[in-house]
Symmetry: D2
């Protein structure tokens, strides 16, 4: 029906598995204008890359990303490596004329992110597309939240309350991983999960964070070195290492409209596993969503009869809800990885339509600037700081 | 790594899509002892079958199931047609020496189910495996519930409360579909979703229903004929048809141990979309699960200090939980279709191990007998009736 | 401002404490048309009655109820004794020209309840009022549920799901109390809490139960005798006694309109403390309420845009909600005993207005007949039985 | 049984009603070491005071508080006036040798609060007791939270998340009341409800806030003048007035142990009616409580088997829970005003025991200092500020 889009994915950790599901499932769930082909998985360790490719359905594995991005038979480069390599790969891939999907955060610093955004702008001039992977935007309930705010269902925005809380570091004996090393990860809770909260706020409100006041802190400064990697963590090995990223970040922000927003990102919220939560309070209503109850959106309609007001728990599984046409009958739940299929759908559709996909590298750069502003504020006694 | 198992799937409606995800995802998520190969999708309409095969990743389509089940290069037959054809296909496939996975309910009548169970017993003697597709057993929270009861975490069982509530018929203008035609579907809410509640009760308690007292009822007896099919329902066409199945079933049952259980199956529970819910009350605790909150299991431990007792909402996404090793980090949700991957995993492992997979056709037959007993009780003023 | 209504309360157990709060608080919370005066508390044990009277704010105690109900300075007799004495006291009090508030269930048998209803009818001819104490009707969320159904907010009723689940007998070592003795209590879970579920169903739907099919069962037939009484239970003493009432009752019922309703009453639902729960499914919506979350009413409006439907959790604490004008600002919760103040308010207002308060003794008699029909059905293999 | 304690209450608004319930109910619910007598209600408007006294059960009304506090037959002065008069009345009452219960916040400024705390210290030397009315400490679930933290159930504290969210100002047409006038109220959301969040944090953790970084803001700066007062708000009258207090306050704080805490106080959280919410994350577990679900405490025990961890919803209605011995059987809910009975119980017991009740005026002064530090930080670009 349409030209294939041959994809090379660079990296194959946890994010590689999730992206692979997206590439594999999107064409089955949706009728796409172009057919993605899972061509090449790239990993430095050839054996590990080969195994991952076989398991996840890639046609082949390769070990040199520079070689792969130059190949004529590759159309899309999907970057799922740690943040310290994003800039180099993305800039090169764009220069080679490949569409680029880059996992978030865009980069580990504003400078790198700026390079990438500039490269994306240049590439866009010749029809090359780029997108940063804030997939939580594509959980149907989050997308519906954005739509309802845009349609004015809660009126003008009074305030926002956003947080992303996990607890996988609450145990002081949880070992080091690359996510706790500033050189690899760029930042800790702030950049890893706080970035999601920032992007979600900007996505659903349609507004940008303009200034911030915040604090970042490392609660446990030394941890056992990693033995074997398991999930996001792993078992303890010999020796101890220094945690060089933040464990928790608290900040307030002012949006374009002047409205205040509060943010919390933490890996020490005992009992909270993956609680990206956002509540937007408006003049005419409110919307609340929590990733731990991801298929539901809570809507308070302040224009109804006072005696019948309350939060309505909308189960976002109806055919008219965003992305749901591709899936199951009403009441059948979606899971974590569906966002990756939706991301593939939107990316492929934008490429086919010659349109800019969102979130763009510019959007990713702005998130990076917010992270930077939070760190600058934290270094200045939490004084308000422009983004 | 291991011999491939070539699969033919007969049928390609909503259940075909779900089974296809299972076959496609299971090998990526889990390390299987044998590799399933999505060989042939079979559908009477060659064009529709071809499109479905292409979309869902089957190597080819075919239109004559009789021919396909005789092929030497097919190892597994997966039946996802409406219930009226299950017996014929399954018996023939078993006779042809194919392992058979058959969607639930096993058949539309006890007589047919008996034929199938007999065929399965005969086939098992020569190492041919068969299994009926009660996939909700394989939602990790439901599996964990079974495990915890088996381990004695709630002590001996006092009573069970099970229900499956949907609302897609609450609107009297929802049109006819094959699910409302007794000839095709066998029964209505009772056989379609009540069967799930019965199986779930038997699965988690490890006990069988021995006698029942119940009522079945059709609330809306005439509906518009179906125009175009959408999801489980569709748009209204011209003319009206007669609903020949039940809309709601209420029954009580006695389990092996003598404990009482209550059941409700309904398609008229306005606002309940897919609420398969079960609560088991024991001497030492209780467990509660609801498919609409499918990743959580609620556990009440009556052996704790009285001042600290309460229902604990266990988020069943930890690596040590059933099936979770194949998926995402803690706190990342699974959805409806993951049960189909788990079903493939268990079926393939049983085949490779030369073991009987569960639920067996005998298990499916027992559910069919319970459904029959409920209908007989309903015809006898709800008097208690042996299964 | 208005004539006082002098009250004598017969009995002073747990229900006496709750009724006392009602008499004490209602005049402070509401502007009543007549002022209730807490005159006399009656108990067989003079010392205990004296202590209770002093503690709960009654002007005096007395030990002979026959004497008290004949006194000219008593206007209202409030009966909070166990059910076996209700008939004798109520009939005598009505004959003596006193308004009577009688705790539920009205009596321990249909015959006694019939005597009481007849006495109430005779008394009503001379302006003497009587009422049975199903106070849960007067939890604002339950009253609102009734109002919304009456206003057609959920359209015609499709089905009802009602249950009252507790767990105070789940421990087989919980000792005997008068509530487990058929001579004193009349029946067990069925009459004690099942009666509330029946009344609630009839109250909110405005329909009566016409026929039933059910089972009642005693799960633990022998228990330690009571040592010291604590709350609804107590500590174990020496020796063992025979439980002569049911522990659990399961039944289905048909309402006036033909709609089906399911009921469960149990004292063995481990972890459920006081879970009177009712859901009414209608053509245009549904309403759900649970006494364990007593200030909230869940409303599903099936007439809204499909994409915005869901259960709305109405916090029933707004000034326009039933009874709320007498209490606190929005968002400030009411508790268990507020229903008793509302009962006093409604009873006093009906007396002052010369109107029949509800629920009447006839209403109480009908509940008694339903209980009786359930027991007859249970004795007849659960066959459907007319009320 | 014991000497009476004669009480005079100064003021009779919403808080007067709540305190009156406390004085009336505490002696019925609990066995107190001294009997409070509701002697005199004081209000400037003699008629209104007379009506309130009659309604709420006070023996008499008076209009001159100075006269009343000098009376020999008054033992306790209970202050429920707006904050601007607290200092004058309390200091005078203490000087007159009366025990003083003062509604929160202690005063409208640190200077006033300091005067009061000094007066309390002087009075304590001669056995005169004083206490500030942070009644939410005495909601049983909150008290249990404090107890469990003190017992080490969650280990050392990692972080705290506290908020108090209401929405009664979300509508820009809600009229002015004294609570929006800085001269009367001292501050807005910060002092009214933020003070509760601060006290709750200090109460449950046993730690003080040592430094803060925050912002306060008025979202709607002009409102209609008040016509008639209704609940916390009222109807709009003629003309418009200037809101001189904050509508929302966001701040972070550092506790004694160095742990970080985040705070939000707002009257613009559309749909949140009275949501005082606190979560304390510890090394070994977490506790979460929300006043809108006031009878439940959520406890996460991180020391349990990983596969069984989750938040346990403890229904705090068991006889062994704080204050519950005085009330109803398990599963029967308490409401907003029960905290006032518990406050009376604790105050009377402390007086009888010759002990310092808590929270003391010093505790109230510390809260006042925190409020002041937040305002100073807000005036200094949210820079961290010592309390």
């Amino acid at each position: 029906m349409s030209a294939p889009l041959r994809v090379a994915m660079i990296g194959h950790g946890f994010m590689g598995a999730a992206h692979s599901v997206g590439w594999r499932q999107a064409p089955a769930a949706f009728t796409l204008p172009a057919q993605p082909v899972m061509s090449t998985l790239v990993g430095r360790n050839a054996e590990a890359a080969g195994e991952a490719a076989a398991r996840w359905g890639w046609q082949e594995a390769a070990s040199d990303w520079r070689e792969v991005i130059e190949r004529d038979d590759i159309d899309i480069v999907d970057i799922v490596t740690p943040g310290d390599s994003h800039a180099e790969i993305a800039v090169a891939a764009l220069a080679a004329g490949k569409h680029v999907l880059c996992e978030k955060p865009l980069a580990n610093s504003v400078a790198e992110a700026q390079l990438m955004a500039d490269a994306a702008t240049r590439a866009a001039a010749s029809g090359i597309r780029s997108m940063v992977g804030f997939t939580y935007r594509r959980v149907p309930a989050a997308t519906l939240m954005r739509d309802m705010i845009a349609e004015g269902r809660i009126g003008s925005i009074r305030q926002v309350r956003a947080s992303y809380r996990q607890d996988w570091l609450a145990d002081a004996d949880t070992p080091m991983t690359w996510r706790l090393d500033k050189d690899r990860a760029g930042s800790g809770a702030l950049g890893d999960i706080g970035a999601h909260a920032i992007d979600m706020c900007q996505f659903v409100t349609g507004q940008s964070l303009r200034s911030v006041s915040g604090i970042v802190e490392t609660l446990v400064e030394e941890r056992p070195l990693l033995g074997e990697s398991v999930g996001l963590g792993g078992t303890a090995g010999d020796g101890r290492g220094r945690v060089t990223v933040d464990d928790v970040a608290l900040f307030s922000a002012r949006l374009d409209s002047g409205a205040l927003a509060s943010f919390e990102a933490t890996r020490f919220a005992t009992g909270r596993k993956n609680a990206l939560e956002i509540e937007v309070s408006g003049e005419r209503g409110a919307l609340h969503w929590n990733l731990e109850d991801m298929n539901a959106l809570n809507f308070y309609d302040a224009t109804k009869d006072a005696g019948e007001q309350g939060f309505t728990r909308i189960l976002v599984t109806e055919p008219q809800h965003p992305y749901l046409s591709g899936w199951w009958p009403a009441g059948h739940m979606l899971g974590y990885e569906h966002g990756f299929s939706h991301q593939v759908k939107d990316f492929v559709e934008a490429i086919a339509a010659g349109a800019q996909p969102t979130p763009s590298f510019d959007d990713g750069l702005h998130v990076q600037r917010v992270l930077d502003a939070v760190e600058r504020s934290a270094a200045d006694r939490s004084a308000w700081t422009e983004v």
